[in-house]
């Protein structure tokens, strides 16, 4: 039995903000019949997904379904075993400068002696070889970009502190600013709301939704609970049992679609406040059961 928490009223009945399928030829990322294998085991296969410019897409699914693997395949960190994957019109890994990436559950321990603003600056030019000059036009431009990114996520109050002394929500905002500083066309976020308390979850979800809308950035976000982001979403991709279903939330998060995907009876309930609850979704045994024990849709 899964119970979802967080309140985003009645989002499932609201029609999608944009077309269910992006127009042909404008896809920011596209998977066709794609499969990924890790150590000989097929994680998922036959996955088709198209994401258009400026869309906010959630990647959902139970633990071990390969949600993070999907992001790593898109980044080119993991190879695609078969099928076709295009990211920003190129094979994975080629367009990394145009992608902002937020890995899963990254936190800095209390002794990390680096400022949030330095961390953000690394997102701008940390991959350049050679020494940066600490003065001059280029350095001033970089400092301005860092300040803008800090303002964009509202992190001005703590960007000068050691990142290890910031709270989980503050660290998440700093890392989001780092991912945004190059003004990427595509943001890949891996469970950014994980480990945040409920008000921080709602605030971070609203921030990501606003950035997606205002900056025109395409957002692909792995989530284990769809409810905090439901009202901001255009489409979802649901990974389970080695396959995927994609479409609007209203199309995908239904008893029929999920039952077909999982191959066992699954029921989607809508709570009176609009939250979605998935019941009967099989969990892989003894894998991260602590986090999902009795919690999270999906």
């Amino acid at each position: 039995m899964n119970t979802a928490h967080s309140a985003h009223p009645a989002a499932i009945v609201v029609p999608p903000r944009r077309a269910a399928e992006p127009a042909a030829g404008t896809a920011v990322l596209e998977l066709r019949n794609a499969a990924v294998r890790l150590d000989g085991a097929t994680i998922w296969s036959g996955v088709d997904l198209r994401v258009g410019p400026g869309e906010f897409v959630a990647v959902l699914g139970p633990n071990g379904a390969g949600k993070s693997t999907l992001l790593k395949a898109l980044l080119g960190v993991l190879p695609v075993a078969s099928g076709q994957v295009t990211v920003l019109g190129q094979p994975p890994g080629r367009a990394s400068r145009r992608i902002g990436y937020l890995p899963q559950r990254r936190s800095f321990d209390a002794s990390a002696r680096i400022r949030g603003s330095d961390l953000i600056r690394l997102g701008l030019d940390g991959d350049r070889w050679g020494l940066p000059l600490p003065f001059g036009r280029r350095s001033r431009a970089a400092a301005r970009r860092v300040a803008e990114a800090i303002d964009l996520v509202g992190a001005a109050g703590y960007a000068g502190r050691p990142v290890g002394e910031c709270s989980g929500g503050e660290q998440q905002r700093l890392l989001l600013a780092q991912a945004l500083i190059r003004q990427p066309e595509l943001l890949l976020l891996d469970e950014p709301l994980d480990s945040l308390d409920l008000p921080s979850q709602a605030a971070a979800a609203a921030l990501i939704g606003r950035i997606c809308r205002d900056q025109g950035v395409t957002v692909v976000m792995v989530a284990h609970d769809v409810n905090p982001i439901l009202s901001h979403l255009d489409r979802v991709a649901y990974l389970a049992a080695g396959a995927a279903a994609a479409g609007t939330p209203a199309e995908v998060i239904t008893s029929e679609t999920l039952t077909r995907l999982f191959g066992t009876p699954v029921e989607v309930l809508t709570a009176s406040d609009g939250r979605l609850v998935v019941v009967g979704q099989p969990e892989p045994p003894a894998l991260h059961t602590d986090r999902h024990a009795g919690g999270g849709t999906p």
């Binding site: 990394s96 002696r113 690394l122 940390g126 991959d127 070889w129």
Partner: protein, 300 residues
């Protein structure tokens, strides 16, 4: 040490010291080593690889002892053995990189450490009568630094610094944030292996002044002190080098004018600097907290 005693007239004291060619060599070697150890140590502290650094330092002992045993310059032994140990640790870490197990890496580092120390002991036993030199190998000596050795230190040091200057920024990124760095196309694994090799070279340099056991006086202490004082990467890097340089030269001076070994002085001065930085940070923290507490006491 010499006929001329310490006079508190620092300029005159320095003039006396620098009238001896071996002291000029020692000051030159000390400066080179302090800069190289400071820069590499700064990254090592940031990357939390002090244990690997310590292992490389202990590899300096069999290197120097082995070189003396087969009758070549100890400097080659230092470089050869430290860099070889670095390559072993880097290769093993890379081999296990797919599982990313830090515990496995540290266990393997411990294995390398114990084995190198045992080798050093064997070499010392094989070379009978060498025992007087063992203390110098372990705890440092500034006597007998030759002009040729200074040139070798400078050459190796410049090579290390040049690589760091080119790769420093991606290395910093890969050190604090490896996942994102990898996604940005930075070769994190290769950088990590290359860093260990450079660290091996830096340790080999440092061990020639401080001895194998006191390498951390120049490798860890200045960096740890500077990272306590400032959070700015460039400022703390510069401060690290300055602290290292200062404690080395002060240590040389103290060792020259007293009967006690240089390793003790360099380490003690570095430790004093670290202690002062910690106390200052604690005092600053208390000063920051006090107004906040006072504010909380005021009724709304």
């Amino acid at each position: 040490m010499t006929g001329a005693g310490f006079s508190w007239n620092l300029l005159a004291d320095i003039r006396v010291m620098w009238s001896f060619p071996f002291m000029v060599n020692a000051f030159r070697a000390g400066a080179i080593v302090a800069v190289v150890a400071g820069v590499m140590g700064w990254f090592m502290v940031l990357r939390r690889q002090s244990f690997a650094g310590h292992t490389l330092a202990l590899a300096a002992f069999p290197g120097a002892a082995g070189a003396t045993l087969i009758g070549i310059s100890a400097a080659y032994g230092y470089f050869g053995c430290c860099v070889a140990a670095a390559v072993v640790i880097a290769l093993a870490a890379r081999h296990r990189g797919s599982t990313g197990s830090r515990a496995a890496e540290s266990a393997l580092t411990g294995v390398v450490q114990a084995f190198t120390l045992a080798c050093g002991l064997l070499f010392v036993a094989l070379y009978q009568g060498f025992l007087n030199g063992t203390t110098a190998l372990l705890f440092g000596s500034f006597l007998g630094v030759t002009a040729g050795q200074v040139v070798l230190l400078a050459g190796a040091g410049l090579a290390v610094l040049a690589v760091v200057a080119v790769a420093g920024r991606p290395l910093l990124f890969a050190s604090v944030d490896p996942d994102v760095a990898r996604a940005q196309g930075i070769p994190v694994g290769a950088l990590s292996a290359g860093f260990l090799v450079l660290l091996g070279a830096a340790v080999a340099e440092t061990a020639q002044i401080t001895g194998a056991l006191l390498v951390f006086a120049l490798l860890v202490m200045p960096a740890a002190t500077a990272q306590r004082v400032t959070l700015r990467p460039l400022a703390s890097l510069v401060l690290t080098v300055m602290i290292g340089w200062l404690v080395t030269w002060a240590g040389l001076m103290a060792a020259f004018y007293s009967p006690y070994p240089i390793g003790f002085y360099v380490t003690s001065f570095a430790f004093a600097a670290y202690l002062a930085a910690q106390l200052a940070a604690a005092a600053r923290g208390r000063a920051r907290r006090r107004p906040a507490l006072a504010g909380a006491g005021v009724p709304a």
